[in-house]
Amino acid sequence: MTGPVSILRHLAVFVGVITTWEVLALLGWIDTILLPRPVEIGEGIVKLYFEDRTIYRHFAITFYEAFAGFLIGGGLGLALAVGSALNDSFRRYVSPYAIVLNVTPGLALTPIVIAWFGFGYSSKIALGAIVCFFPVFVNTLIALTRTDSDTLEMFRSLGASRWQTFVKLQVPDSLPMVFAGFKISITTALVGAVVAEFSQGTAGIGVLMQRLSFALDMGSAIAALLSMSLLGLLLYYLIEILDDRIVFWRRGPRMEAVGRRRQAAWTAAPRTKKLTTSTLKPKGGG
């Protein structure tokens, strides 16, 4: 599918689109304020990354804000969802507030959050946490409560305790969906951080981009926007990698690798165990 020929074709299409865009802009058919020429964007990238070199700091700050917001909001969502899944009345009395928080456009809270937490990093982290709470909460809760009833029956018939059912059945069963929630959340946290930066801020990619576009340096503004896409992809793949590591049973090769490793550990372990038990602690019955 992704052989060299297909990559070449993609590249050809890309170059073709860029060239027509450039030509149309040079002819004046495209408003260069709305869509700057590709060459201008290229110049913007060079300027931001190699000449000024200020973008790295802004990049790191926004990354930190989004990630911290995700950790707080996602952690809270996870904790409340687990509590709600384990206890019916907890869920009954907590979920209305979660729903209210969900239907409120979280970004509407931006000025309030900034008034609360000031102009520094903490307000961006707080807004990120607010907007990324719900996807984790709802995905975890649904996943934990939607356990396969046959498997549940089997666990019960084998006399599994409530804790065992939770740890060995509900948690592994729910992990794929929980991670899907994380993936939504982390990009939402980025949106929250960036929007808070737009509103009031002294550093971060959002601030940088707003400055550039209000100075009508649109090439650099688009370059900053592309860096934001990069940031989004980076955060997304961070979760994707974790997903791949932890939920290993969803993909064939990973599943086999882990299975082989566990098997090796298993065949190595009982032998040593047998040795120690037979030599050190002979049982009376044997």
Partner: protein, 288 residues
Amino acid sequence: MSEADERALRGAVGPTSRRIMFNHLAILMSLLTAWEVGVRTGTLDALFFPLPTDILAGFWRLYVVQGNVWSHLGLTMMEVSIGFLAGSALGIGLAVVVGLVEPLRRYMKPYVIITEATPRIAIGPVIIAAFGFGWTSKVAIVMLVCFFAPFVNTLNGMVNVDDDELDMMRSMRASKLQIFRKLMIPDAMPEIMGGLRLAMASALGGALVAEFIAANAGMGVLINQYTGVLNMASAFVCVLTLTAIGFFILRFMEAVDRWLVFWGDRARTEAVSRRRASAWARREEGRT
């Protein structure tokens, strides 16, 4: 949020009984009372937690005495509805075109992934620089925010048509138009609705953010002004208004979903098929 989500949230407890409603109210009232007492005694900062009674008074002041919310609210809702309609129509339309033309679809994929990863609202400053500070730039931003979810979902729904069903349609010599109308569209309908719901949910946020960045009227401006002078009670009134609107929008989209995708719900399916059967029978009767 779908019905299943809601069931999960509420728990498998069946319909809420009167006693549970009472408990809910009691919890809410005691929370609010604790809040009020806490602020009045000075344990809670009034800047963080404006008095609940102040918020209530704020509703009266903003909506009745001053009546200044209405024009801002109207403007924001206008931006949201125009932007949503135009953006989602564009998204669905473009997705249908792309979905029907195979090579276009193949070469679109990388671009769709990149635009997916970009926080859409982030384009705000660029659009405002291009369209100015008036309401047109807000409509443009809402359009952009509402474009992607319907576009991606429609494309997905159309591409993932069941091969067996497609074979059957072909073997019965269905025309391209028939395949499109009777197979692809109904098949993609639940996903399209999902996209529209996502778009609608983000439309309000998009308009507000656009107003935060630069505007002279709208709910975002109003919230910004009130928090700017630290009149938190009035800011809370505005946010709670938006909460109510968000709730209304959610319910509205759910109703539309149930109406359009009637086969997703068992009872609705039966009702519709019964109605169709009786209409059919009546027509047959008329013919004989």
